[in-house]
Amino acid sequence: MSNKVPINHLRELESEGVFVIREVVSQFENPVMLFSGGKDSIVMFHLARKAFYPAKVPFPLMHIDTGHNFQETLDFRDWLVEETGVQLIVRYVQDSIDKGRVVEETGYNASRNKLQTVTLLEAIEELKIDCAMGGGRRDEEKARAKERFFSHRDEFGQWDPKNQRPELWNLFNGRKNLGEHFRVFPISNWTEMDVWQYILLENIAIPSLYFSHEREVFERDGVLYAKTPFLKMKDTEKAEKRIVRFRTIGDATCTGAIESVASSVEDIIREVAATRITERGGRADDKRSEAAMEDRKIEGYF
């Protein structure tokens, strides 16, 4: 017997993620994989490709487009779809606004982040999706720490944190009634560091936003925001060019940049190892209240 564990932590996490994705395809009839263009969904999609190779990924990607994305994210998404031949479904928050399903927030901190939930739930109902895989990780946020791999949602798409199914060994129970669906999180056990290390190990392509670049930014409440048409600046706020990168990629309205000269994945890993602020520390959507994520999750957020 060898005195070393058969596989290292990244390969074990990879194996676990692949196992979960294969379970999804086996247990559900009409699954999709939610894709935001961020590193977590890119890694999750990479696992899906590995899980079914040499066959194609047997489910579509779905992007809930707020209309406030960085152009680099959309370009990357389209490149990846072209490159891998995966099917892509896009649903627009703008359509939900036009249909009067949601009302757009106003004011300086207006964001479409929360509105995505409605668009997502509408898409799930319209397309009869019975499972939506997401790139959520348990280390991201305290409400996520209690999330299952297979997370049951009732017919209103709601999460009931106090009544979750026990999840034992690797036996995932995806049984449900008509109209209900599941959210499944294949990379639940990964940390931000694991994701970056895996991107390095597997040489996975990611959007240029993650690397250091020059950009016009302005500061609000201690967060650096990109100057974009989507975010109204106050008279007192002044945009200036700085060398920045993004640690997470979400909407331009709620994703903060950090000043950084990290220009390779290895630079980023060194930076993440040294940094003392969580990656969601730059996310205005979480700062709204102590239980912001919990509230959004209960309503049916990603």
């Binding site: 017997m1 005195n3 564990v5 058969p6 596989i7 290292n8 932590h9 990244l10 390969r11 074990e12 996490l13 990879e14 194996s15 692949v18 196992f19 294969r22 379970e23 395809v25 086996s26 490709r49 590995k50 899980a51 079914f52 190779y53 066959a55 194609k56 348990r138 280390d139 305290k142 720490a145 209690k146 944190p161 106090k162 979750q164 199914r165 026990p166 999840e167 034992l168 060994w169 690797n170 036996l171 129970n173 049984r175 449900k176 009634n177 056990n189 940390t191 694991d194 290390q197 390095l200 190990l201 040489n203 890993i269 940094t275 602020i277 969580t278 520390g281 102590e290 239980a291 919990e294």
Partner: protein, 425 residues
């Protein structure tokens, strides 16, 4: 496997999963907070939030227990509702903590957290010693066959760091543990609040020469935790690309449950019993020589057999048990009691079938570890020995030998919820 050569030790760490068990106020949250804080897994913004919350509550120290506070309902009630997962790493290992609440009624959460753990950290309050809950925690660790148990005698600062207290608790634990199936038990005197023997060696207990908790977690010998002898490959999914390039490709995708398969091995496919040879093992674009638990991969067989999800590939010359009448230890998780004669859906490896509960043999009093042959009512958090009959034959190992092929769950067919965790005797 052909690994791209990257000279970075952080790409090659081991993964250790452990569960923590303690009663209310044993200082479990403080201990986890301490591990995360001392290993720098708590970030500045999280720490500031905790400091703010501690001041608001008028507490003397920064309350590290607040790190593990999750849901609003929990913060309001000051309790933990559900299993929470925490992550930290040292240069040597990456750790996943399944943090389970300690209340009496939450046996089901502890079983859940224990099911995938390499190690259990059991907390004992030095002032109270071994109590009923300690016995319950140790019993569950033994029942779920967690390979390593670390008993942390906490709050040593409140008993003047006295060795006699520690020794007496150790002695008491050993007395009842003789009735259990624990193979590797360690004891550490700690103070989670002050940090003694958690990451840093205590200055207050020079009579203790053993390792700190962190040292132990980093150095526990875990490579034997998987069954390495019996190769088991439950087929999860059949890959058939039906493309021009891979016209005849037919691969069986899955994750090794235990042991190793190599290309050229003679194997048997269950339930048909047909034998063949492993022609190839693929993962992604790599052609592998072998596959070892817990790797995922795709196996290609020499002969064209009828193989689908739920089949299992085992070595030709290695027996596996099979049958429809199965005896198992069950931990009941459902809020409705188990129905004798009741029918349930059953999941075992990648197999879905149904079963009927035939008989309750005995119920375990988990506070005294006595077997009760009279009380046959099984409700939430009860643990019992039962027999079931399945709709078709099951291919299994005993849970003692194999935690993957020896475990199963029962599901309420009407509500679709998981109601039972079964370990095959």
């Amino acid at each position: 496997m052909e690994e791209k050569v990257i000279e970075r030790s952080y790409l090659d760490m081991e993964l250790l999963r452990f569960t923590t068990a303690g009663s209310v106020d044993d200082g479990k949250s403080t201990l986890i907070g301490r591990l995360l804080y001392d290993s720098k897994a708590i970030f500045q913004d999280q720490l500031e939030a905790i400091e703010r919350a501690s001041i608001k509550k008028g507490e003397e120290y920064v309350n590290l227990a607040l790190v593990t506070d999750g849901l609003r309902a929990e913060r309001e009630q000051g309790i933990t509702i559900d299993v929470a997962y925490r992550y930290f790493h040292t240069p040597k290992r990456k750790f996943i903590i399944a943090d389970t609440p300690g209340h009496v009624q939450y046996t089901r959460n502890m079983v859940t957290g224990a099911s995938t753990a390499n190690a259990a950290v059991i907390l004992v309050d030095a002032r109270h010693g071994v109590i009923e809950q300690t016995i319950r925690h140790a019993y569950i660790a033994s029942l779920l066959r967690i390979p390593h148990v670390i008993v942390c005698v906490n709050k040593m600062d409140l008993v003047d760091f006295k060795q006699e207290v520690f020794d007496a608790i150790q002695q008491k634990f050993h007395e009842f543990a003789t009735h259990l199936d624990l193979h590797d038990v360690r004891f550490i005197p700690i103070s989670a609040l002050l940090g003694d023997n958690v990451v840093d060696r205590s200055q207050n207990m020079d009579w203790y020469q053993g390792p700190t908790l962190m040292y132990l977690l980093e150095n526990l010998y875990i490579s034997n935790d998987y069954n390495q002898l019996d190769a088991r490959f439950p087929v999860q999914y059949v890959i058939r690309p039906q493309s021009i390039d891979f016209h005849d490709y037919r691969g069986y995708a899955g994750r090794m449950a235990s042991g190793t398969f190599r290309v050229g091995d003679r194997v048997k496919v269950l339930p048909s019993g047909f034998t063949t040879t492993i022609k190839g093992i693929d993962f992604w674009t790599d052609h592998l020589d072998s596959i070892t638990a817990p790797q995922s991969g795709t196996i290609i067989l020499e002969d064209d057999l009828d193989v689908s999800r739920g089949c299992m590939i085992i070595p030709e010359e290695n027996g596996i048990k099979q049958g429809q009448d199965i005896e198992l230890m069950i931990c009941w998780l459902g809020d409705k009691p188990m129905v004798a004669g009741g029918k349930y859906a059953l999941k075992h490896t990648t197999n879905d079938l149904r079963c009927m509960v035939k008989e309750v043999k005995y119920k375990v009093n988990i506070n005294t570890l006595e077997k009760d042959y009279n009380d046959k009512s099984i409700g939430m958090n009860d643990i019992a020995c039962i027999t079931i009959r399945t709709t078709k034959p099951l291919f299994y190992d005993s849970y003692r030998q194999n935690r993957v092929t020896g475990s199963l769950i029962l599901i309420d067919e009407a509500a679709n919820v998981t109601v039972g965790a079964g370990m095959i005797v």
